[in-house]
Amino acid sequence: METMTEYPIPPEAEGQLPSEETVTGKASRWLLHRYPLWSTFRHLADKTVPKHRGSAWYNIGGIVLFFFTIQIITGILLMIYYRPAEPWMSVQRIVMEVPFGSLIRSLHHWSANLMILALFIHLFSTFFMKAYRRPREFTWLTGTALFAVTLVFGFSGYLLPWDDLAFFATRVGITEADKVPLVGTFLANLARGGPEVTLDTLGRFYALHVMVLPVVSLTLIGVHLLFIQIQGVSEPDSFAALPPEEKKHEKFFSEFMFGEIPIWLALSVFLVALAAIWPRPLAPEANPAAAAPPGIKPEWYYLSQFQWLKLFPGRIEMVGMAILGVIPLGIVAVPFYDRAIPSDDRGRLVTKLGLFGLLALLILTIWGALS
């Protein structure tokens, strides 16, 4: 069999690598002889981020990623003591007996909520900066898919403690899905593993929450980040219109990244404070025969839909659902409708619709929280 030839070190690299006598010089040449990665390194090292008044918004994606990392770490830790066969008992043990168990669980809860909040901000900031336009349509689509995956993450994780709040909230949520025409009952039964929410449902949610969704989201995050690394972040129209000499940039590695680390540290302090001051309570164990506790409400990120559907009682509920169903379609379609750079009439219409959507989301969420 023919042995594979090694790659030559590009002449440009020779000039920039550390001297051949040093350990790092030797190691980098060793690597480059085997894997032709120089152009990749060059690309990453040359990558810049535009600096302008709105630059702070570029940090939000990294903040989402930070909370996601916290979710992975605390999630793995919780899995060590969580038992899907006796869910409530095992969570009670985590809270009552395991050292720092309540803290780890509360961190998982708060980090999940902050991640979803950051994701909302990321979605809206990229939307209003019109970052979805050509050539970033696919980055937008992977992002919206990640948003959907995150909502399922939240819904599936909410059931796992198996307390009565979780039980009835899940029952209500799936019952709503059950009412969707054509596919609703099929999907609801698939999610529940039958006509009722039982421990069989929990088994499904558990597998989804700790295995399926992490694999799917890590893959999507990889693609999403790869696209962003290849193309760089988008420039808002006002920045793109500047003459080249007035455009300021900073290097992604390492100025931008180092700028993000203090944000992450501050957020982790904030997160620990939230978890310590407001630990996540564990309600009494789910009892399928008992009356639902009063004031059952979905988590805040589902409140707007919940409140919206309350506006369409009884037979006209379908109308409310149909309108809700159009929103994700619109989000997916927006890069293919609003394409002009700089913005034209379509672009301005989309911005107005987005503002209207954001306003509706805020009003319905606050209304839902107060009612």
Partner: protein
């Protein structure tokens, strides 16, 4: 010109790097404590109650009524064997083999470990095969139709 402004960009960058590194290390150190404590094993519950006794599980007095009868059972979350010798004495041993931790079995005139062929006599002494030490003997009594074991070493 203040000292801050006179610093070269590379020096500032180095100091920034150092500061972030220190903060990051501090942060990591702080977070590793709860994680380490969360992961550290918890002491198993003592199988013996306040009177120093533990109920024998899965063995009734009738199953060790006559000489030569014996059975594997449990106490707490551990295994044991209870048997009656030819002389009529009721004996109990923790069944964890001192060699590699399998549960031994009572076989009439000896105690045998199926995993690696270790053999103990009815006093729990390791007589052949790989076991390095005798089995741990437990005291055993019958009270109101229930068997109890207790620690012999005080």
């Amino acid at each position: 010109m203040s000292e801050e402004q006179s610093r070269s960009p590379s020096k500032r960058r180095f100091l920034g790097f150092l500061g972030l590194g220190a903060l990051g290390t501090f942060w990591l150190g702080f977070t590793s404590v709860p994680v380490f404590r969360f992961l550290s094993p918890q002491a198993p519950p003592d199988p013996f109650d306040e009177q120093g006794r533990a109920v024998v599980l899965d063995i009734s007095p009738a199953e060790v009524r006559n000489p030569g009868m014996g059975k594997n059972g449990g106490y707490g979350n551990r295994g044991l064997i209870v048997f009656r010798t030819a002389e009529g004495e009721l004996k109990a041993f923790d069944s964890k083999c001192t060699h590699a931790g399998c549960n031994v079995a009572f076989e009439g005139d000896q105690i045998h470990c199926h995993c690696h062929g270790g053999i103990y006599d009815l006093e729990g002494q390791n007589v052949s095969g790989p076991p390095p030490r005798p089995l741990t003997e437990l005291g055993v009594i019958e009270e109101d139709g229930v068997l109890y074991v207790y620690r012999l070493d005080g």
